[in-house]
Symmetry: C2
Subunit: 406 residues, 2 copies
């Protein structure tokens, strides 16, 4: 390109600004290798896009085709494996040396009999790792039954086991830089929630409220532009509040009804989710009472969110408040959050529920999904928080009450 | 609830409007069962959210936990299997009889050793189907290696095989009602693309353009509100245009550089994707020339998109135009589109590429992803279209040229 040199240099600067230092990635790899040694793995294969990003910085919407990051105990850097046309995404977004960026053949995309992981298995054999103890992410969202079948049949002498979400667990305690991004995500979420609340009125089409949320989530706040969230804005309405995952339509918001909002702020893929419940009209006393109990339960749960306490104690404290008021939440009361890609902003590790005895440490982040879903309606008023010595530090600052639009 | 009866009835109307008639679902199930008989399956288990929706109408953002729809030859209706708290989503969005809505225990969500599909296997045994010929979706995005392991170990006497994406193939030719939604999706996409083009200027932060796109995608057009798209708006900038799946940041758009937009309009989960390329400044002749070739190639490809021709002939015609101008596209030139959920708006069936001899039929829909990615830049100007007797009918109506913002 004769006349691209000037524009190229100006463009290159704009391509990608890395959110983390090389040193932080080196420390993550070191931590991961220590966990691998302890668990008895020579090699782990990570397809969870959040794990790929955490290990290398790799970012892009290419997770709909097979791709992964390999960490081998004897390799200094991880190896990125993905589609040829996404190779430049790996070059732009990671610090990996070029020889660790491994593209697969384009013709293998959605091929009926062959699979990209045939080439991955061949690569692993070529490296002499064909008898390795290999840990795979059996339940990562995009690691399909077919991915596993091609990988294991291409490496018949390797010892495959699930790696117990080893990297997800390594992500649990956030670094200072990660906490900066989580706090920015919290501010973005507060901004988007306030915009949503301001837009909600009987007669307004649901999708107009959602459009305001998307706009605010994406614009972000001064100094912190938004990123796409791992889940679309959820807004069950009326009897729809009895179930948490209905998405929006273009129907008008009703009068004398509940609406529930569950959204996140996202900053460089770090997520702070939040739920609020709105009553359009004058709320029946029963709903207002449940809302008060939920807020009281959150306050109690957050007080327990200190280092040394276990995950289940946060849930127990919240559930105790519910019980005093004759209520109960069937599903888990929360989960670890942070770096995330669709379809979920949870980290698939710690759950705030009975039996989860994970010891809390400063810098862990959770979404306390404090909601009560009854047979034909529900109320949820949640908080995302960081575990600190003083208890849970809220990431968002939206009104802590049933929001009444009368 | 003593005082909810009035609000309930007004709210219920707002919960969910079904986009398809009961008759259309009956016809889809009939078609699916004929394909099952032909392929030798008693039972298929579908976890692809688009297949679940196409078979039953089920809609909601709950696909981050294991869930599926079962079709058995001897059952009149499909069976929905999912998380207890999502059961009401199935009640609202489907016509399934209540006994065909099967919830799994909440404690199984992200459980380290047990799995929801343990309960699914137990249900299948209870139905007396434990020796059935079962077809699973080996490569559906959320059908993980762990889902498959629990299902097969819970049904040791069943005969499991991949079902060859049987339902995805059944979705290929769209019904008249589906084509209505596809055309509405196309109009939404045109609207969003025009808003994006109007917002693009050097110095404008990338995320502001994306915010405008989200707003327009969600608002939709008069009479057709938007739905969330299966892929976030993609906008590689500068040298980033050399790779297609980079997402946005809050960096300012540069001057004298390329930007590429890939977005979809979505209407009731039906997608019309579109790509356009923008030059900020006066485009170098080489880029303008490639853009002209790409547009010419699309026109040629669309002329071939008639019933009776094969998928590969569309690609060949487009590639022939490129070749005449000394260019080549390495990756497939397009793919079937329609009903979709994250992470992909493609249907994972027909690809417009050499070797795909699928015979085109009226009512199939494709995204002709007519882009050329070179080593340090790329140009893509695509079209989504319906196969008709007159060739490809465009779903969108955005400017068919390199868009110059000078």
């Amino acid at each position: 390109m004769h006349n691209m040199s000037e524009s190229e240099s100006s463009a290159q600067a704009a391509v990608y600004q890395k959110p983390f230092s090389r040193a932080e990635f080196a420390s993550r790899i070191g931590d991961t290798k220590r966990r691998m040694e302890k668990a008895g793995f020579d090699l782990i294969i990570c397809q969870d896009p959040a794990n790929m990003c955490w290990l290398t910085g790799f970012d892009g919407w290419s997770f709909y085709v097979p791709q992964c990051v390999l960490v081998h105990l004897e390799e200094e850097w991880p190896i990125w494996f993905g589609r040829a046309q996404d190779r430049n995404s790996a070059r732009f977004t990671t610090d990996l040396p070029d020889e660790n960026i491994l593209p697969f053949s384009e013709r293998l995309v959605q091929h009926p009999s062959e699979h990209p992981y045939d080439e991955l298995a061949a690569f692993i054999r070529k490296k002499g790792w064909e008898r390795a103890r290999i840990g795979v992410e059996m339940d990562a969202h995009y690691y399909t039954a077919r991915c596993h079948a091609h990988l294991t049949s291409g490496l018949p002498d390797a010892r495959f086991t699930g790696n117990g979400d080893l990297v997800n667990w390594a992500r649990l305690v956030k670094s200072p830089r990660e906490l900066e991004l989580m706090r920015e995500a919290g501010r973005i979420c507060t901004h988007a929630m306030n915009k949503a609340i301001a837009a909600i009125k009987p007669g307004v089409p649901q999708n107009r409220v959602i459009a305001e949320i998307y706009y605010a989530q994406t614009m972000g706040v001064p100094g912190a532009g938004g990123d796409y969230a791992a889940i679309c804005p959820l807004m069950p309405v009326g009897e729809g509040t009895s179930t948490p995952h209905l998405t929006f339509s273009d129907a008008a918001l009703p009068n004398n009804a509940l609406a529930m909002l569950e959204i996140a702020g996202a900053r460089r893929r770090y997520h702070a989710p939040l739920t609020r419940t709105i009553y359009l009209g004058r709320p029946p006393a029963e709903i207002a009472d449940v809302a008060k109990t939920v807020v009281e339960g959150v306050d109690a749960g957050l007080q327990m969110a200190k280092p040394g306490n276990t995950a289940e104690t946060v849930e127990a404290e919240w559930q105790a408040v519910l019980r005093r008021h004759g209520l109960k939440k069937e599903s888990r009361a929360g989960y670890s959050v942070g770096l995330a890609y669709p379809p979920d902003w949870g980290e698939r590790t710690v759950s705030l529920r009975p039996g989860d005895r994970t010891e809390l440490q400063a810098g862990m982040c959770f979404h306390l999904q404090s909601g009560v879903w009854l047979s034909d309606w529900g109320v949820a008023i949640s908080e995302s928080f960081i575990v600190t010595d003083k208890g849970g530090e809220r990431l968002c600052d939206a009104p802590r009450e049933l929001i009444v639009i009368d």
